[in-house]
Amino acid sequence: MSLTYLEAIREAQYEALRRDPKVFLYGQDIGQFGGAFKATKNLQREFPDRVLDSPISEDAMIGVAIGAALEGARPIVEMQFADFSACGFNQIINQAATHYWRTNVPCPITIRLPSGGTPGSGPFHSQSMEGIYAHYPGLVILTPATVEDAYHMLLDAVSLDDPVIFCEHKFLYYHLKADSLPETGLPIGKARIARPGRHATVVTYSAMVHECVRAADELQRDGWQIEVVDLRSVKPIDTDTILASVARTGRLLCVGEAFPWGGVTAEVISKVVEDGFHLLDAPPQRLNSKDTPIPYHPNLWRAHRPTAANIGAALRGLLKF
């Protein structure tokens, strides 16, 4: 058996629906059509009452999920693209994220955000929103980079009693494959060493894990051993694993596909500088997309985001210091 990242997301939703009658799926075109990316393909056939097409109303979709969760349901909302969650932003950050704190009543909803860039998708179908949502207290932000994590972390998200923003990367949907799924995954909030090394640490997440591993493989030819840490969950963030890695290597590069101002990479560097300044042999570096909207043309798009080539260049600079 072999399955893709996208199929793992579909399988996880099937399994969530099968396990718990309180789970339901809500989103645009997710019913008979199976979703814009087919992440819910055939699920309505299997669970006709629990896979519901919504109007194009992101605000109401999240509001409905919140209300349903208060009544004991476990909704999974599909945003057609992460970018469109901006239209449901208010309900996410003001209603869902504050609910437990204000009322002592948890709000278990999972919001799936098909995230990140693919060639030709342009400014409004390519965004990475994890940094924006991570800013707000009361949300869990997951960014799976592997087929196995896409599956297990989505199931974990549904069983968690808090609102979860599940950032699944569209670039990984079709080409990332696994032969089988392990019985269990790492717990939420635990980072993973994607590739061990001792000369520098790269902290990254989501699709950038693969770019960073490629860059590390390239540097290996020159004898550099680069450790790649896959955060898996950007909030909660596993500071222990990051600091332990920096303690081994003394050098840190953070890589993210999101825009450069603030965000996850800045947060990682801030935590390492605060708690592990003495571990650093060089100034910590970060690499993000350019500070412009995400371009449409593939030539521009490839130059806008970090790639193995410029991650490699950044690492060489870091190693020279």
Binding site: G67, D238, T239
Partner: protein, 349 residues
């Protein structure tokens, strides 16, 4: 879909059952009025009230007339900022109000949120946020979950908003979604002529907000919101229709806010001429006169009721004012309910 109707009270509606409901509702109105008068006085005297004070003065009849149709423990009621009367009619205890306004740690929000944002979601009272229109889809979702779980039965979910909130995208998206799902949502619009200081001419361009019901494909009703008898009649009908499975019901009550937006606001933007129209009738006075005209209660009995309510208000303020304030050193400062689980896995949440 029938055209929106204007509902009025006719003498043949004055059954025994109606009389009883009228008197119960009047008592809730009076409770809300006396409670809010005290809140306003405490606000002005300074120091006692934590945060702002937002009153429902002039809207008690319209507000309570909906709350009294619903059953706590069965139905859902999401009141907004001017629904002290409706909340009480639904079954919220007075202490929830005084504890929240006076900052008692024992209130439903434990000092984490204030005044009109209070709620008890597990008792059918979701806690509103400040962003208007957002509760429409939340109540819709509560009803949808009940349908999915087979527990909807003949329950209804009601939510209240004002003329200003009808301009929000949330309002539109929420009602449209409830209409698509044909859920038993009762949406009460209190058209009190001003959203903060903005008059209705700067808020919408249709003749009457109830016309929107036609566009949503739902049933709509207009009513004089200063008239308790008419308000009870319309909400009885609308709640019954929703219980029977006739889908969302939209009611627009016309009235005037007899206070500022909050007690910090002197409402000097309300034209004096408007204050002399029927819109500005005080619904509590109107209801009291109606009770006397119908000879349902004597002047002495009305006074007795007022004294009783005043004692209840005194007790609620007295108890809350002697209770502890929230302690920042006892606060866990965690925004996730699963923080223990997550922090067991890592060092940070």
């Amino acid at each position: 879909m029938a055209a929106p109707q204007t509902i009025t009270f006719t003498e043949q509606d004055a059954t025994d059952d109606f009389r009883q409901q009228y008197l119960v509702t009047y008592r809730h109105m009076l409770s809300a009025r006396l409670l809010e008068d005290r809140l306003a006085a405490l606000y002005r005297s300074g120091g006692k009230i934590v945060g702002g004070v937002y009153l429902g003065r002039g809207q008690e009849a319209y507000s309570a007339a909906l709350g009294v149709q619903l059953k706590k423990g069965k139905d859902i009621y999401a009141g907004l900022i001017r629904d002290q009367a409706g909340r009480m009619a639904f079954g919220e205890i007075m202490l929830d109000t005084t504890r929240t306004y006076l900052g008692s740690a024992l209130g439903p929000m434990r000092g984490r949120d204030g005044n009109i944002h209070r709620g008890r979601p597990k008792e059918g009272m979701p806690a509103m946020i400040s962003h208007l229109g957002t509760m429409v889809s939340v109540v819709t979702g509560m009803l949808l979950a009940r349908r999915l779980q087979g527990t909807l039965g003949d329950t209804v979910g009601a939510t209240c908003i004002g003329d200003g909130a009808t301009s929000t995208g949330s309002f539109h998206e929420g009602i449209n979604t409830a209409a698509v799902e044909k859920l038993p949502l009762v949406i009460s619009v209190a058209n009190n002529q001003f959203a903060y200081s903005t008059p209705t001419t700067r808020q919408y361009a249709c003749d009457d907000l109830v016309e929107r019901a036609v566009g949503y494909g739902i049933e709509g009703y207009s009513v004089d919101g200063t008239d308790l008898a008419a308000s009870l009649t319309v909400f009885r009908l609308a709640v019954k229709r929703a219980r029977e499975g006739q889908g969302p019901q939209m009611i627009v009550g016309t009235l005037l806010r007899l206070s500022g937006h909050g007690e910090h606001d002197d409402a000097s933007y309300i034209p004096p001429t408007m204050r002399k129209t029927a819109l500005a009738r005080d619904c509590v006075t109107v209801a009291e006169e109606f009770i006397q005209t119908q000879s349902w209660l004597s002047t002495a009995k009305l006074k007795e009721m007022r004294d009783e309510v005043r004692h209840e208000v005194d007790d609620a303020f007295s108890q809350a004012s002697h209770e502890p304030a929230p302690d920042p050193y006892k606060e866990p400062w965690r925004a996730l309910s699963s923080w223990k689980q997550l922090e067991g896995d890592t060092n940070e949440a």
